[in-house]
Amino acid sequence: MRFNEKELVSLSRQPSERAAELGMRGPKKGDVVKKRLVKLIVNFLFYFRTDEEEPVGALLLEQCRVEREDDLAFSIAFLDEAERKYLFECDTQEQCLDWIDSIIKASYEFMRKNLIFYRTEIHRLTGKDPLEQYGISDETRFQVNTGLPPLPAPPT
């Protein structure tokens, strides 16, 4: 499957939610930690060699698992290849936490689930569907039941 490389390069030049130089290690056996400029832009994580214009690579942050590996490091693994982890080393614990937080929340899927939660809750509390005023209540992606596992019941 091909992404349009130019589109991705163009995207990688947009303002980022978060950017920093981190140590990064690829998922393959024998990969070593290398210094990379890592940028979070929408739901993509781009990584560049320092001072290079074009990214070395990009990770689409969907269907992935973010894990704290140790005090200063986190990893990203994709659900279809759970053993292959991309490792990122930060300078401080706080930086590590911030990155994990941002990456999770950048995921379209994460946002969508939150939206469905709010939609359901607002409807429960007010009797109104908040998406109706925007004319998007029929959009498939915002439906409560889309064949995914049921939402956990809100805490009482």
Partner: protein
């Protein structure tokens, strides 16, 4: 490259594939021709996947729906629309569908597919939720605790190397409710979410990144960084007005009638 889009499924779960760009890769930069190829297109989030046919397992390619405008376009094909990227050098994709309802559906879906749209919408709903829980006298739930399972594994002890992640208490955040009073307690639960939304770089994609432009108009100028639209309702209003005006205008030209009331897309 020009496509014909077939009936689509708007599926919420995204397929994921890590993408590595080699430095030497190039895409073919052919000229835009007018021959259409039939493709099965699948919209997932801000990504438009396409494959040769519905039954095909493998996806041919994917278009990232960021920084592009959805436009009605002039074409030999009926019910056509295009995706125009504001960056020079990026190709325009043209689509044609079977009928007017499909065209309307697709345009509507593509207009709201970008990440920024969902971000703003989510922020708006979050505020409504806080408002609603306050009015009902309920404590707002913490969405993080509900969703953390999905992405990061079961929240366990906070040990490094335990293979799991959970959040520390989000920092308190001072946000005003509609009465103008700060309500510290309301915000504990969703502070981190609000913080993430407010941390946005001031420069976003051009505000009108979903501009539907009349035929024969150039795409929005490249590099037009306007102030971000902070309010989803406002953004939605603008989209609605633009779309209505431009489609009405297009209809008039195409049909030679003054049918300005023909809303192809009802934005409420």
């Amino acid at each position: 490259m020009v496509h014909r889009a077939g009936p689509y499924q708007v599926v919420c779960v995204c397929v994921c594939t890590p993408v590595c760009l080699g430095k030497g890769e190039r895409n073919a930069t052919g000229e835009v021709n007018t021959s259409y190829q039939k493709r099965w297109c699948i919209l997932k989030g801000n990504l438009l996947f396409y494959k040769e046919r519905q039954s095909e397992r493998d996806v041919l390619g994917v278009i990232v729906l960021e920084g592009c405008a959805v436009q009605l376009c002039e074409s030999e094909e009926k019910f056509a629309f295009s995706l125009v990227f504001s960056e020079p050098g990026l190709r325009t994709y043209k689509f044609a569908v079977e009928d007017q309802p499909s065209q309307e559906s697709w345009i509507k879906a593509l207009l709201s597919a970008n990440h920024g749209y969902l971000t703003l919408l989510l922020k708006d709903l979050q505020e409504q939720y806080l408002e609603a829980t306050r009015a009902a006298g309920e404590a707002p739930a913490d969405p993080q605790r509900l969703w953390v399972d999905t992405m990061v594994g079961h929240p366990q002890s906070w040990g490094p190397g335990s293979g799991s992640v959970f959040y520390t208490n989000p920092p308190a955040l001072d946000v005003r409710d509609s009465a103008g009073h700060s309500s510290q307690q309301l915000l504990q639960a969703t502070a981190a979410l609000a913080k993430a939304a407010n941390k946005r770089s001031p420069k976003l994609w051009p505000k009108r990144n979903a501009l539907v432009a009349p035929i024969n108009c150039p795409a929005p100028p490249q590099g037009e960084w306007s102030e971000p639209t902070e309010d989803f309702g406002q953004m939605h209003e603008e989209f609605g007005k633009e779309v209505k005006e431009l489609i009405a205008d297009w209809l008039r030209r195409k049909q030679g009638e003054a049918s300005g009331e023909g809303d192809l897309i009802d934005l409420g």
